[in-house]
Amino acid sequence: MRIAEPERDDVLLRRAARGDEEAFTLLYRRHQAAMYRFALRMTGNNWAAEEIVQDVFMTLMRQPKKYDASRGTIGAFLYGIARNRVMKYMERLPREVALEEKNEDGTGSGIVLQDNATPAAWAEKRERVEQIRAAVLELPAEFREAVVLCELEEMSYEEAATMAGCPIGTIRSRLHRGRALLMAKLEMLRDLPRRASAVR
């Protein structure tokens, strides 16, 4: 579907650079969710994701001329900034102590589960998703990025390679290794309850 000229990202950005707040808001609303999810899945931290999204759009607001239309879409440009911020966050992560996170509804971890028939099923699924999340967050940054982009953001290898600024073969290789590590981790987690029940 073709987007009308006045609503195209680059047109909105030009308007925003001239001080049009509505254009900036439209641009923000169009891209914020993707940026937030990417940051959340990479960092596993609501506050960090929020801060990263804010930084991304602050950069866009203050330096709109940094965007070069000949090098890709605004979405890709924003992903690039978000990626840098995520990497910086992860670099300083060992020096920071994460506080226990709570959602607005009082639950933790930023994961929202829906349509679970019983509380037991809800709890079981929630626990499982939490394990996957933890396993993803334990992956090395490069593998995690490939997994997040290809598996969670559902990008093609080509798109993921563009976002990560590397060849497709590299993305494929990182994804392969990331998935292998993830599978091993998940297998281990699956086996833990079995072993525990066998001991009993």
Partner: protein
């Protein structure tokens, strides 16, 4: 396809658009014939399912509304600050230009007052010719260049060129003012000066030294340059 190749490119062959159809077919063939790679692919698919569950759980997540509020606030601040700064710069330049203009006009006025050019009027009189059109007065030659005819006043403090009007007493120059007036030569008669009837209707420009009582004390005809 060998097991190593399958692990490298075959596991996700159906999704990887960079692979050719032949490579996909080879991967399918290999997984059908190799139980180890089949198990690996099952594990891979299971991991994919798990990841999709995580993706679904976080699919609806968005940045909190406060981020948008903060950004919009920052946007307003930044652009209003920019506008205010630009307005301040423009106002500064405008003020500077106005100051220069006022300075030029003031200087010009001061200069005009210091060295006023005499308006080109009809007949002119020689400096110091207080007989005002008497036989000894020199009339300006007709056709003479006007610029050469311009007259200037002496400096205000050079009061020696003034001639006391009849009946006036020597005065203190501190309380006097010089007033330049244009009058008919005949009007000098009212000040007690002799006037030739022949030139009585000529317009001349004279400087009057006016005392603090507002009455003329002395008179001077501007000198020619």
């Amino acid at each position: 396809m060998k097991c190593e190749e399958f692990e490298a490119i075959g596991l996700d062959a159906e999704r990887d658009v960079s692979l050719s159809e032949a490579e996909r077919a080879a991967a399918r063939e290999h997984v059908n014939s190799c139980s180890r790679c089949a198990a690996l692919q099952d594990s891979w698919l299971a991991a994919g399912t798990e990841l999709r569950a995580l993706a679904d759980a976080t699919r609806a997540r968005e940045a909190p509304a406060r981020v948008e509020m903060r950004l919009r606030q920052e946007f307003r601040t930044q652009h209003h600050t920019f506008k205010a700064r630009r307005a301040a710069v423009i106002a500064g330049w405008a003020l500077a230009a106005a100051a220069v203009l006022v300075g030029v006009v003031s200087w010009n006025n001061w200069r005009t007052n210091q060295h006023p050019g005499v308006a080109s009027n009809g007949a002119q009189t020689n400096p110091g010719d207080l007989t005002a059109g008497s036989g000894g007065a020199k009339q300006q030659a007709p056709g003479q260049d006007e610029s050469a005819n311009s007259e200037t006043l002496l400096a205000d403090n050079e009061l020696g060129d003034f001639t006391l009007l009849p009946g006036a007493l020597p005065f203190d120059t501190d309380d006097t003012a010089i007033m330049r007036v244009r009058m008919q030569r005949g009007a000098l008669g009212a000040l007690g000066l002799p006037v030739s009837e022949e030139n009585a209707n000529d317009w001349i420009q004279v400087d009057l030294l006016v005392g603090d009582d507002g009455l003329p004390q002395a008179v001077r005809l501007p000198q020619e340059n």
